[in-house]
């Protein structure tokens, strides 16, 4: 198991967790201040090509953090699935970004820098923060007029690797090279427009550039852990859970869980489409095993009270799917004990149109015959919990874990 990110709330409790955030914020504020980000003319100079301090600080920070992040994930220290990657909302991002740009050149700050400016008693910084409070209030009150736009063009947890369809190492290297090119171009602009003497710039910056390229090449060389590597790192611990059958939910418990409105239950049916069309549990989604990887990003964005239950005819395919999702660090994943066949044995209740087969010899085949392709329209697909209450015995296994991966970023 990867150690980082830490599950702070479970490890040290909320007060100490907030202290950690406070210390991180302290570093953030301190570094922004020494970089000159509490000084609005210094920030604005970026947009007149005189002093590209903003570009240099920001892009250096981005590439340094990026190289360190992906070195850590490559070495198996940090789990990329458990860190917050801002989901993509294309058009609200573009329009919001353009409005922010206008606010930047008019107001001379961004929210982070205005907070630092205010903390060093800059009157314009304090006023910008007050304006910001008005701005967020206006947004809260006006969001109802463009909700569709605000929630539209949603692409989920889309990374540059997904978008460019390139391996992580290549993307990291390309971003480093792009940043270095921008630094070079920026310095040329400072020389020509800002009349700066570049010979006074420290030569050490070339060493820094070299270190970044080397870092990116190492990331490329090692590669990121595949699902199988991730599984191997946790196999001994997880295999035990399978053997103890503590991740198998019996039909009785699943029925009860289906009617527990405190939980966000996601039932995933991994069987072939023909079987799913024939009969499936009400409100279960059909996602065949080979399509599961596409859904991992979205599953990570589900709220903390989400419970996943995997369903196949017996248990082989659903257990395979379980291993895949658990290796991708999805929390609270369970398997329907005995699959659809066990479900039907439990809830069949002599329903017309469903016939138990005499012999169900092969694994992962349906042990029942159906008179019609009715999907979830059979009574057994959505049994009445009151009718069955107290009639089925089961050993409860579901224990909801606190979620480790963040479900919202610094903007919620």
């Amino acid at each position: 198991m990867t150690i980082f990110p830490l599950h702070l709330e479970a490890l040290i409790g909320k007060p100490l967790m907030y202290l950690v955030y406070l210390l991180i914020g302290f570093g953030f504020g301190y570094v922004l201040e020494i970089s000159g980000f509490s000084d609005s003319p210094v920030l604005a100079a970026q947009f007149y090509f005189k002093d590209l301090r903003v570009l240099k600080v920001m892009f250096t920070a981005i590439v340094v953090a990026m190289v360190l992040i992906f070195l850590s994930t490559a070495l198996g220290i940090l789990d990329y699935n458990l860190i917050w990657v801002n989901p993509t909302y294309l058009w609200s991002g573009i329009i919001g970004g353009l409005i922010m740009g206008v606010g930047f050149i008019v107001g001379g700050f961004c929210p982070g820098t205005s907070i630092v400016a205010a903390s060093t008693l800059k009157i314009d910084g304090i006023i910008f923060v007050l304006g910001g409070l008005v701005g967020v209030t206006l947004f809260g009150e006006s969001e109802k007029f463009f909700q569709e736009f605000y929630h539209g063009s949603y692409y989920g947890r889309l990374t540059l690797m997904d978008f460019l369809n390139l391996p992580t190492g290549i993307v990291v290297l390309l971003v480093v090279l792009m940043a270095l090119f921008m630094f070079w171009g920026g310095e040329q602009l400072e020389r020509i427009i800002g009349k700066k003497d570049l010979s006074k710039e420290p030569a050490l910056r070339y060493a820094g550039a070299g270190a970044l390229v080397v870092g990116a090449l190492v990331v490329l060389l090692i590669g990121q852990p595949a699902n199988s590597d991730r599984w191997d790192s946790m196999a001994s611990q997880q295999e035990r859970r399978l053997q103890e059958r503590s991740v198998y939910v019996q039909p009785g418990e699943l029925l009860q869980t289906m009617h527990d409105h405190k939980l966000n239950l996601i039932m995933i049916d991994v069987r072939p489409e023909t079987d799913y069309n024939m009969f499936h549990i009400a409100r279960s989604r059909h996602i065949p095993l080979e399509e599961l990887p596409e859904y991992v990003g979205g599953f990570h964005l589900e709220p903390a009270r989400t419970l996943f239950v995997l369903i196949s005819n017996d248990e082989t395919t659903s257990t395979q799917a379980w291993k895949y999702l658990v290796a991708e660090s999805i929390p609270n994943v369970y398997i329907l004990d005995g699959g659809i066949n066990h479900w039907l044995t439990t809830f069949w209740d002599n329903e017309a149109g469903i016939e138990p087969q005499v012999a169900d010899t092969a694994d992962e085949t349906l042990a029942f015959d159906f008179a019609a392709v009715l999907g979830a329209s059979y009574v057994a697909a959505d049994p009445d919990p009151h009718q069955w209450e107290g009639k089925i015995e089961y050993i409860p296994t579901i224990k909801m874990d606190l979620k480790r991966a963040p479900t919202s970023g610094g903007c919620g």
Partner: protein, 191 residues
């Protein structure tokens, strides 16, 4: 002799006024500042799984005030409900503590380097009053845009940029695009 005894103790005595009126030291080299910022950002991701942020606190403080003034209203608007519905305290959230730290860190560094001063930073050709007005309008616009794009320069450009979110890179270029697009018309303000 008399002059000496009068000036000596005054020199060594701590003066609050002097602390805030020193000559400010020059800023750190931008690449060095960037490396340090990158390390803070990386540590944040490594330890907590979260990047850095700022605008989130603005909305939580605003909702907190709104919840004091008109709690029923907050409970009716879905967007506000998420942060402060019922008994939920909108300030009981990690980003708020990052911002408290940001304020303390900025203040400390400003104090050490003689840059914590009651003053207005502005271009040479505008009055303080104009600068304040523009800062207010700019703050409104920036924060409005930050809510729409679900994050500002810290939460989207910096954090999402480093974690390689495709959408964050789009937001980042849109911010620079918007600023560069309007910069020419505001050149008198800053130069």
């Amino acid at each position: 002799m008399t002059v000496d005894t009068q000036t000596q103790p005054r020199k060594s005595r701590f003066s609050l006024k002097k602390l805030f009126q020193r000559e400010g030291k020059p800023y750190t080299n931008p690449y060095l500042g960037g490396i340090l910022l990158g390390i803070v950002l990386f540590l944040s991701f490594l330890i907590t799984g979260q990047g850095l942020g700022a605008s989130g606190t603005l909305s939580r403080v605003a909702v907190f005030v709104e919840d004091l003034v008109a709690p029923d209203h907050v409970d009716r608007v879905p967007y506000l409900l998420e942060m402060a519905g019922g008994k939920t305290n909108p300030l009981d959230y990690w980003i708020v503590f990052v911002t408290i730290g940001t304020i303390l860190g900025g203040f400390t560094s400003g104090l050490i380097h003689g840059r914590t001063k009651w003053e207005t930073t502005r271009g040479p050709n505008i009055s303080n009053r104009t600068r304040w007005m523009l800062a207010f309008v700019g703050g409104i616009l920036f924060a409005y845009g930050a809510r729409m794009a679900r994050g500002c320069t810290s939460g989207q450009a910096l954090s999402g940029g480093a974690s390689l979110s495709a959408g964050s890179w789009v937001v980042m270029f849109a911010i620079f695009g918007g600023a560069y697009g309007l910069a020419y018309f505001l050149r008198k303000v800053w130069n």
